[in-house]
Symmetry: C2
Subunit: 524 residues, 2 copies
């Protein structure tokens, strides 16, 4: 399929006088097969107007139609075949196998949200019947969740499919009944165009209103800024840097009518080596740790950037083995030259800390944007002395924190900012100590793992991919899993509404297998 | 009971060098039986530290103990007897019967949240079992909601009991497992002290950690500002003016770690007179409208400040009858002299609009802070011409909007800001027209009523007392009813956690009648 570089504005293809090209980070060259058009302020406004016009027909269409639309997007993405894998791999530097897996995840999560739409539970139906005999009379009240309105979603650099054009936020917003205006990531415009074409086909096939999806691309930050400021946009989904997320939060808060921003921003994802586990299997833990750290050039939000243990010969052995394995890691192509530069800068800052020792480095880079893995060490008592130790270094860099004892380890954990994940390496003999650590983690993170590694994020019902600030801008939400639909909903209640005017699902006996709370009792 | 004027800081009584007195708005005089102590920055910091220290023991105590604590507060409030009713009535100018009703509501809502704590559904338990055969292996994931941390609650001028010291936000936060630091409203410090004494007794009786509740009082805005800025505070509940709410939002957004603010701020609560209903019962509607408008001197957040109808002889008759009834309304004591001044200023601004006609006024005031009801009229086509028409005038003032036809009426509704409520007066012959109006209301309001009046807010499961900006700062939430517990919770997920380390409710088979989502299915 030949790429056109078009913008997708409410079902209409557009071009503009501003253009940019994609890059191949592995080769360090421009990809010259297409010129991509940068959106103007008018394009953004038109996309938002189209989304607003689509809101009522889309959100009031039968749920079965909404579900079929999500499934059609999944089908059309798969129908793009190898062209999608090749393009996404070329624009991101990620291997084809990884992109193929990500495509499966993306289609899978669209289908999961289709099932969630049909499940209907997200409507949170509640009915309190009237009691006219009471003094004063008790009214009839019925509650359901409704969609917020048009949603702006920002593509992520590190997941060109699963967190981008038809990724998690898009799927959750569409499932909730919200049209989406997508700001494509400038690093993979061709991938975004292919996906937008798939959505365009799904819209046509299922007869959805055209404004239900738009794609605005471009290199200028003003595009995203205009999008978040547009009065028709009612919520924002973002995955990226802390600076980027905080900039969008400021714009959203300064609007005449502020809106929620769900920005996933920054995490160093502590791994805690509990003493018995470290003793029993320190070598294996060191190997698995480096594998999790270096996977995908370390470009995961849940990458283990921090590992904590109690000082002693077992921790020395762990550090030595981790250093050995890490030294053998080949340098890997990073997503963009900007990300590569930021990675090198982050490591340099860490090295500049007087408290930090470099334990090991991966192999020398063999190409322009290749990131070299790195492992540092710092004493627990010094960890809080320099805020640079707390900053995420996006890439395969990690810091080992050597704590004097469990008290110091708990103290360091208590001082951490909000995190997406924390991981306990824990054996039965550690359980008492773990019970001191867990309450601290519950206050700080979205997901707590035992004896695993944080870099897999399962798309399912009980997943939380979120966490307190600055892991995300809003710790009350998740960006992965079915609970993500909640972020684009709000409650409305209906008092003494005649049945003819009530939404169907709120009429007596019409809950059709959805769990509803009726007069306080939960009924299936 | 003799009032001491004490501050309540984490179970310790304190005094300070700054003092203030309560006022009796009906007589326009100071109440000289007690000097109240104004909190210093140190008092605020100490209260927050105590709340932080109480968080872990309070949030991890058995749910049955938490429920008993809430019930004990209700019991102790009732045990205060007539002294509470007399004091609250004197400090607010509200009649004793109204305060007695509000006391019943306050105790009732504490007991409702006690049942909600036991119900356990708010934990939103989800379990996805592992599938080790899958490639890659699927982990075991389990999710529950946990409390956010210490919460700051601000007392409201217009509900000295139900939205103040032990009011809705306090009950919801305590039910969620969050300690509360209360900023008492400076208009009713004696009432706040009495309630704080009841909570103090309940803490002692049920053995709760002392920092679970603190009360900081004072006239200075810096107290509330310091409270919202304190890093230990994790969420804010506020009911008051738009300016006050927006000031707190700004402080919360500017923190190094921003936190959610639930501010209920401003609404004009449109009532829509559908043509057939107006024709069939315009006179009765006019009388009921004025009764709802003037109740409690119009000092309800859900007061009907706007009524819309389609121009014609029926609307003329409605306006005439409403004007007649309103003219016979006695002036009523308002809550504070400041609120009375703002009310008079708001009416003056409305009168200054070139598009507005004054239809009627209530009787002349007979005392210093008495508010005089007022009814204005404006043409639908002029309504959007001056933003002054949109501003809430807190008190018994309302604007009749005369629309040329249904299109214009829908147009005016589409332009409204977010509202707590909208009310349809609707007969069967209006249903087709109502179906055009309802989707507009669903986007704009938290609660839609048919054939009632918005000024009663039932405390129950299906209530939404909330709405899009600026009705509240966060339309995803309600401040009344059991769903309010959600505002103080966030999700945490546990991956491959050994049963011995899992929270009890997440172990297999331990859901005890709570609806849980297990492997995607909802089970009771």
């Amino acid at each position: 399929m030949k790429l056109t570089g078009d913008l997708f504005i409410g079902g209409e293809r557009r071009q503009s006088s501003q253009s940019f090209r994609a890059h191949d980070p592995a080769r360090g060259v421009e990809i010259d097969d297409a010129e991509f058009h940068g959106a103007t302020e008018q394009d953004v406004a038109d996309a938002c107007a189209a989304a607003e016009a689509a809101f009522l027909p889309y959100s009031t269409a039968p749920l079965e139609e909404r579900a079929k639309f999500l499934e059609a997007i999944a089908d059309e993405i798969e129908a793009l075949g190898d062209a999608l894998v090749e393009r996404a791999s070329r624009e991101s530097g990620l291997p084809a196998a990884r992109i193929t897996g990500e495509r499966g995840r993306t289609a899978g999560q669209l289908r999961l949200f289709a099932r969630e739409v049909r499940d209907g539970q997200w409507q949170k139906l509640r009915i309190d019947h009237a009691d006219k005999e009471r003094t004063p009379p008790k009214p009839d009240l019925r509650l359901r969740m409704v969609p917020l309105g048009p949603v702006a979603v920002f593509g992520a650099s590190n997941f060109p499919l699963a967190f981008s054009t038809a990724g998690g936020d898009t799927a959750a917003a569409l499932a909730a009944g919200c049209p989406v205006v997508m700001k494509g990531h400038s690093a993979h415009p061709g991938t975004a165009e292919l996906i937008a074409t798939a959505i365009e086909r799904a819209v046509a096939k299922t007869g959805m209103p055209k404004g239900v999806f738009s794609l605005v691309n471009g290199m200028s930050r003003s595009i995203g800024q205009a999008l978040v400021a547009d009065p028709r946009i009612q919520a924002v989904g973002f995955t990226g840097s802390r600076a980027g997320g905080e900039a969008l939060m400021k714009i959203a808060a300064a609007r005449p009518r502020p809106i929620p921003v769900y920005a996933e921003m920054s995490a160093i994802n502590p791994v805690i080596l509990m003493p018995q586990a470290l003793k029993a299997r320190g070598g294996a833990l060191a190997e698995a740790y480096v594998a999790s750290l270096a996977m995908g050039a370390g470009q995961f939000c849940t990458n283990p950037g921090l590992v904590l243990g109690i000082d002693g010969p077992e921790l020395d052995a762990f550090a030595e083995r981790a250093g050995e394995v890490l030294s053998g890691q080949a340098a890997q192509v990073m997503l963009t030259s900007g990300i590569h530069e930021a990675y090198e800068g982050g490591k340099t800052k860490l090295e500049g800390s007087p408290f930090v020792t470099k334990l090991a480095e991966g192999a020398e880079p063999a190409g322009p944007t290749q990131g070299r893995a790195a492992l540092f060490s710092v004493a627990g008592k010094d960890f809080m002395a320099d805020p640079v130790h707390l900053h995420e270094v996006f890439g395969a860099s990690s810091v080992l924190v050597r704590c004097a004892d469990l008290d110091e380890l708990v103290g360091v954990l208590s001082e951490l900012e909000g995190q997406l994940t924390a991981t306990l390496q824990v054996d039965e003999g550690d359980y008492d100590a773990a019970k001191r650590v867990l309450p601290v983690l519950e206050r700080t993170v979205g997901r707590i793992l035992a004896n695993g590694w944080p870099t897999g994020v399962e798309v399912t019902h009980a997943m939380v991919h979120g966490g307190p600030y600055p892991a995300t801008s809003d710790g009350r939400s998740t960006s992965v899993g079915t609970l993500a639909i909640d972020r684009f909903l709000r409650p409305v209640s209906y008092q003494d509404m005649p049945a003819a005017l009530l939404p169907g699902a709120l009429r007596d006996g019409a809950q059709n297998g959805v769990v509803a709370r009726i007069d306080g009792s939960w009924t299936l």
